[in-house]
């Protein structure tokens, strides 16, 4: 069942007037408060000044006029295609088309053998990427965890290599520095058959956390973002304030500040390279006010992540956001409902590229094999909702009703046969709908045990590398590949 890229936008937390109000508020923030920056961004600041921004170098403040923002934002493409190494995994990001996938940079894993939490390794990254490759409802691969067992200098190239070898889905991740970015682009170009081919069919893209909320540019990440623009690599402009700590406590204030950060980021990208492919990357989050930790599992994260898509849609730029986090430490009922709520809300909001949706626990800090399998099922269910109910002659089935007649049954009707694999979401196999007797016979397994068994089976299968053999050899000659 292909449930990728469905159109939605039924859940609209903001009315059209409210969208306008927030958008205007964001423009006011950029005009009146402005954004700040630190040493090292002199060139970027000059570029902004040359194009109409008001710079106060003593105060390190940049202010933008409405017109400047409008002009630059209009240059950002309305549609961005993020490709997979296999074209069946291409993602057409635009309007209210919904895609969901993994999210990044966890540092711990529940060990699949012992169940105990430990640091993630490069091998873990490779294994979970293979899982993602085989789980149909996970549409793309944002590097789900960090390899804590390798040197920082080898990070970026190995991270992308592990993902690209293991999966033919679109691969996205952050990089540590510009050198890392260049290495990754070079490797991907080798696979693509040159930089032009890569730009044409970008099967990698880069997350750049250009903003340190509130309203500050991160020097390193802004450099990386602009360098990716110059190299025609799509970027996701991540900014992730936490309501109550790095943005106002209120949802409206958080949205307004975040939208302002995005408008500023998009402006920088479009000035760097007009038409640069990018994803609006507002990730509204919440602080747990009792600890100031990140509350990824809060239902309001789902509400705000649906709203932020409305704001990106308002300026006609496809978006990257977040849903499917949980604050739970293990794949339990809390993880289940937190994920289901936010994933469904963000999906029904029509968000284009929803990351963090599979595998994560403890608000971005931990992953678990079984969680990927469970989340694949949650995403499948959410996408099924987007598909809606077909109402037409064939689906109304009046003839069938007539021919079966009052008092009959539909079990053997050809109409049932014709629709039974398509009309309902059939699941990936992890959901239990057996009788109690059968369930007991099969070992009385709970969802976590069943999911773990499925993951084990998927990983025991063949390990095809998605990188062609000759190119793989060249890559290994050129770079220090540690996998």
């Amino acid at each position: 069942m292909n449930l990728m890229g469905l159109q939605d936008g039924q859940y609209r937390p903001l009315s059209p007037e409210q969208i306008e109000t927030v958008h205007e508020a964001s423009l006011k923030i950029l005009e009146k408060t402005g954004i700040t920056y630190e040493q090292g961004l002199e060139d970027t600041v000059q570029l902004l000044e040359d194009n109409g921004a008001a710079i106060d170098r003593d105060k390190k403040n940049i202010k933008f006029s409405k017109d400047m923002i409008a002009e630059q934002v209009a240059r950002a493409p309305e549609k961005v295609v993020l490709c997979g190494q296999n074209p069946k995994n291409d993602l057409h990001l635009t309007e209210n088309r919904v895609h969901l996938g993994t999210g990044g940079a966890a540092i711990k894993i529940l060990d699949p053998k012992t169940g105990k939490v430990r640091s993630t390794t490069l091998k873990d990254l490779y294994d979970v990427s293979r899982l993602v490759d085989q789980l149909d409802n996970i549409h793309f691969l944002v590097r789900p965890c960090i390899a804590t067992d390798i040197d920082k200098a080898d990070y970026d190239i190995n991270m992308f290599y592990a993902c690209l070898a293991a999966s033919s889905k679109h691969v996205m991740a952050g990089v540590n520095d510009e050198q890392g970015l260049h290495n990754v682009i070079e490797m991907a170009s080798m696979i693509a058959g040159g930089p032009d081919k890569l730009a044409e069919k970008p099967f990698i893209s880069v997350i750049t956390s250009f903003a340190i909320s509130p309203l500050k540019l991160c020097t390193q990440s802004t450099h990386i973002m602009q360098e990716a623009n110059r190299n025609r690599i799509p970027v996701a402009l991540s900014s992730a304030p936490m309501a109550g700590s790095t943005s106002p406590l209120t949802m409206a204030g958080t949205l307004a500040q975040l939208h302002a950060e995005q408008l500023a980021g998009i402006t920088i990208c479009q000035l760097t390279r007009p038409g640069a492919p990018l994803l609006y990357g507002g990730i509204p989050g919440m602080a747990n006010l009792k600890t100031m930790g990140y509350s990824g599992g809060a239902v309001e994260c789902g509400m705000m992540n649906a709203s932020i898509h409305q704001l990106s849609n308002h300026i006609k730029v496809p978006n990257y956001n977040s849903a499917g986090l949980s604050d739970s430490k293990v794949p339990d009922a809390q993880a289940g409902y937190e994920k289901a709520f936010t994933v469904l809300l963000a999906s029904m909001g029509g968000a284009n590229y929803i990351h963090h949706s599979a595998g994560m626990l403890e608000s971005m800090l931990t992953i678990a094999h079984e969680q990927f399998v469970i989340d694949d099922e949650i995403i499948g269910n959410a996408c099924k909702v987007l598909k809606g109910i077909d109402i037409d002659a064939e689906h109304l089935a009046l003839e069938v009703i007539d021919s079966v007649g009052p008092g009959g049954n539909f079990m053997t009707s050809p109409h049932t046969m014709a629709h039974m694999r398509k009309e309902y979401y059939n699941g990936n196999g992890v959901t239990d709908r057996k009788s109690r007797e059968k369930w007991e016979q099969d070992g009385s397994l709970d969802i976590r045990q069943r999911a773990l068994a499925m993951a084990k089976k998927l990983l025991a299968g063949p390990k095809p590398s998605h990188i062609p053999e000759e190119i793989d050899k060249e890559i290994k000659e050129k770079f220090n590949i540690l996998l």
């Binding site: 540092i107 640091s119 960090i146 804590t148 920082k152 990070y155 540590n176 340190i212 991160c218 936490m242 109550g244 700590s245 790095t246 602080a287 006010l289 009792k290 600890t291 100031m292 800090l365």
Partner: protein
């Protein structure tokens, strides 16, 4: 003494204005400023810290309490002897080089301050040499390092090494923390203490210089 109870309660209730009144009243009654500080304000903040750890209070409320307390301390400071202001040692805190995360580190700094320690918060992306320089300049008794990235955790070790090299290691106790940091890692790199949250960080710092 009932006065201290009222001071403590008022602090826990976040009534800054009343707190200042109470501090002034206590001074008028010739209660030693050191007692007002230690038995009143700091003791009150200890209660706040406990409530924070038990999640009975929101952090913004804890911050309000800390602010109210520091207003009280301002009144007392000129009246305290040097010895009294120095009692609990001075702390250097910062996020290590290459790391820009500061929310948790700032919370730790704030809790230590309200535990009566003098805190110099250097900010983020701080190089080992800078930490060393500041330990010397402030004659610090505690060095606190924060890191939120696995890629910057090695920088904690490098910073500790720089402190050892500078010959200052015997002067300072070193504490480390941040989401990826563990007790085992702290032991590994030769830190003196680790804490997983701001409340226990403050407690542990007080214990280190006691």
């Amino acid at each position: 003494m009932t006065d201290f109870n009222e001071i403590k309660e008022t602090l826990v209730n976040l009534d800054e204005q009343r707190l200042i009144e109470l501090v002034n009243e206590a001074l008028e009654k010739d209660i030693p400023p050191g007692d007002i500080l230690n038995k009143g304000l700091i003791a009150g903040m200890d209660i706040v810290g406990e409530k924070m750890e038990n999640e009975d209070m929101f952090i913004p409320e804890v911050l309000m309490a800390a602010k109210a307390m520091s207003k009280g301390v301002e009144i007392l400071k000129p009246l305290l002897s040097d010895k009294e202001t120095q009692t609990r040692g001075s702390v250097i805190i910062g996020t290590v080089k290459g790391d820009l995360h500061d929310i948790g580190k700032n919370l730790v700094a704030m809790m230590m301050e309200s535990a009566g320690l003098t805190v110099h918060n250097l900010g983020v992306d701080i190089a080992p040499e800078e930490f060393v320089r500041m330990i010397k300049e402030k004659n610090a008794g505690i060095l606190c390092l924060s890191a939120l990235l696995t890629t910057t955790m090695p920088m904690m070790k490098q910073t500790i090494d720089a402190v050892v090299e500078s010959g200052l290691r015997d002067q300072v106790k070193i504490m480390v923390g941040g989401a990826p940091v563990t007790q085992a890692f702290a032991d590994d790199i030769g830190a003196d203490a680790f804490a997983s949250d701001a409340g226990s960080a403050a407690k542990s710092a007080k214990a280190l210089v006691a």
